[in-house]
Symmetry: C3
Subunit: 249 residues, 3 copies
């Protein structure tokens, strides 16, 4: 397995896998890693997913060619989804890794590892822990080829039948504190960096800052970002990169 | 096992098993389920428990006859209490289920299942997770015939030697957030609805609303209620019943 | 194993193991237990540790002679540290017990038990759970000869790569609520008293009170104290000793 160029990304910026225009702009905000998303950002029908694959394949190739030092990931659909196998066809060895949403068990990780190996790929995996099973089984899921984890609050709460309306709890994110803390702890035990929850309220800098401070306190290494404006904020809270810290020594 | 008429109760209203007058009034507030309680609501002596059994047996029969569509449960005393075996004598196949407080292990569940089978009963069980062991072992306890779970905050905190004085924590229920979150998660994994903590401050609508909103956010399906006025409030927060949702489709 | 004189200490007051003057003053504030610390309070070099051992050995002997009813502990360095074996040379049967920081597994506990037995000592152990592994594996660590547990928030957060800056979270200690709750629960299952986190802000009585109230709510038996002024405050929040409660009956 080749060592990743971003062992501990402070920011992981997503763009829809079917939007070549947005993908091309991903590097502008200076994120530590970028993700071309074939899952949540693309409508769930077979045609939409197929079209997005074509866009993502070409856009990823162009992005890597233009920015050889940028860590480019593709997020495929979950292992038990009908899109998983075809999504794998988009992956190439030039990627920094593949993002796997909704991993739920050690068996899921083996399935993913075997599917990658079957295509001659040895990409490291960023594992999405964002269901009840994923959070409960976090410890057994965070094994090689998994090299990063992220916690997805929206999907987690949906899976539990809960509600993520801010007014429901007296303190932001209290409804996911147990799961968010458990994922940070499991990631520490596995020795992999954990990426913190998405802030869905775009343009609300105060909420992003509050949220990033919480994630930093809990031990997260960085944040999933869904808008370029979130990237510099994430870098404020998640400190210097390993490289910067090295230079400072 | 017969399917329960209330797979996902928004409200579970309790009445003391020794109070025929209160039991008869249970349906008035329109709860999704009712419980005739032989445990906490009845003093702990053998005579008091014996007297309550007689009241409960007759009152449950009358209630079911008068309200054939109401889901009527009886809460017996805990499996290792001296009252458990005699309490089982009250149960009949007409009940919607039996509530088992303070379940602590898979062995407890087997003991209960065998005791019910020994009496020719196949009632589904609502499991009380309200001790340290119950919360820790939640995952292994929530197996058939368990079909619902509830989290009991007062008993849990007592068992841990903690304190449930509201002023102790800066945010309501913070002292049970770990356990309350863990039970909601374990219930999700087991595929059973979880019922949220009792609000003991009667007549305090604001506290009940705040508490219900928290429970809803965490993924609970409904609330244990100890006063009829809590029932309509619970229904506000825990959404439409499955049947209503079905009609709306 | 001899029964400890302080089965449930409300306060455990620390002094640096290299400060004979502070050690001699430990009894003044009336703590339920005291700890002569060879770990965090002593610089990490071999000479500093060696010098502290001499001071601690003599000071512990004098303290026990002058205060035969005081529960005196020594905190050694962690089992896998280079100081552990030599630290054991300080221990004597007259101590109330030995404090082991950063225990992480059942194997660590066996290693400690064997090391003590190898020196003919049968001291009970106060286990520090203050790393990711310690908190995750709490249940298996809290077995004999462990007879008390403590949760260390500063070390825990450091180990997770988090931050303990109060402003990061909207409510004090939210970044450790999961771990602090889990340790209290694991201690309850093991039947051992749990000691709550250190308050590092000396002279800030309000913060200590708030912190103690939280710990009490969660089920902790008492608090680790690092200043004599914290001892009477701890006793306010953690109620009567077993002996006092016995007299009151
Ligand atoms: Mg998602
Ligand atoms: Mg109870
Ligand atoms: Mg320490």
């Amino acid at each position: 397995m080749t060592p990743s160029p971003t062992p501990r990304p402070r920011s992981v910026l997503f763009a829809p896998g079917n939007r070549a225009d947005l993908i091309a702009k991903l590097p502008r905000s200076g994120p530590d890693a970028v993700v071309l998303d074939l899952e949540d950002a693309v409508p769930s029908g077979p045609e939409a997913k197929a079209a997005a694959r074509t866009v993502t394949r070409d856009a990823a190739r162009d992005l890597i060619a233009a920015h050889p030092h940028l860590a480019v990931f593709v997020r495929v659909n979950a292992p038990h989804s009908p899109f998983f196998e075809d999504d794998l066809g988009v992956l190439t060895p030039e990627l920094a890794g593949v993002v796997l949403p909704k991993l739920e068990s050690a068996a899921d990780v083996r399935l993913v590892a075997e599917a990658l190996a079957g295509r001659g790929l040895s990409l490291p995996v960023m594992a999405g822990l964002e269901t009840g099973a994923g959070v409960w089984n976090a410890r057994e899921i965070l094994v090689p080829p998994v090299r990063w984890a992220y916690f997805g609050a929206e999907d987690y709460v949906t899976d539990l039948g809960g509600q993520r309306t801010p007014g429901n709890v007296p303190v932001p994110n209290l409804e996911v504190l147990y799961a968010r803390s458990r994922v940070a702890l499991a990631a520490r035990l596995a020795g992999v960096p954990a990426l913190d929850i998405v802030v869905t309220r775009l343009g609300d800098e105060a909420t992003f800052r509050e949220d990033a401070a919480q994630g930093r306190a809990l031990g997260y290494a960085g944040k999933l970002c869904i808008h370029p404006a979130q990237v510099p904020l994430a870098h404020e809270y998640f400190g210097p990169t390993d490289a910067e810290a090295g230079r400072a020594r």
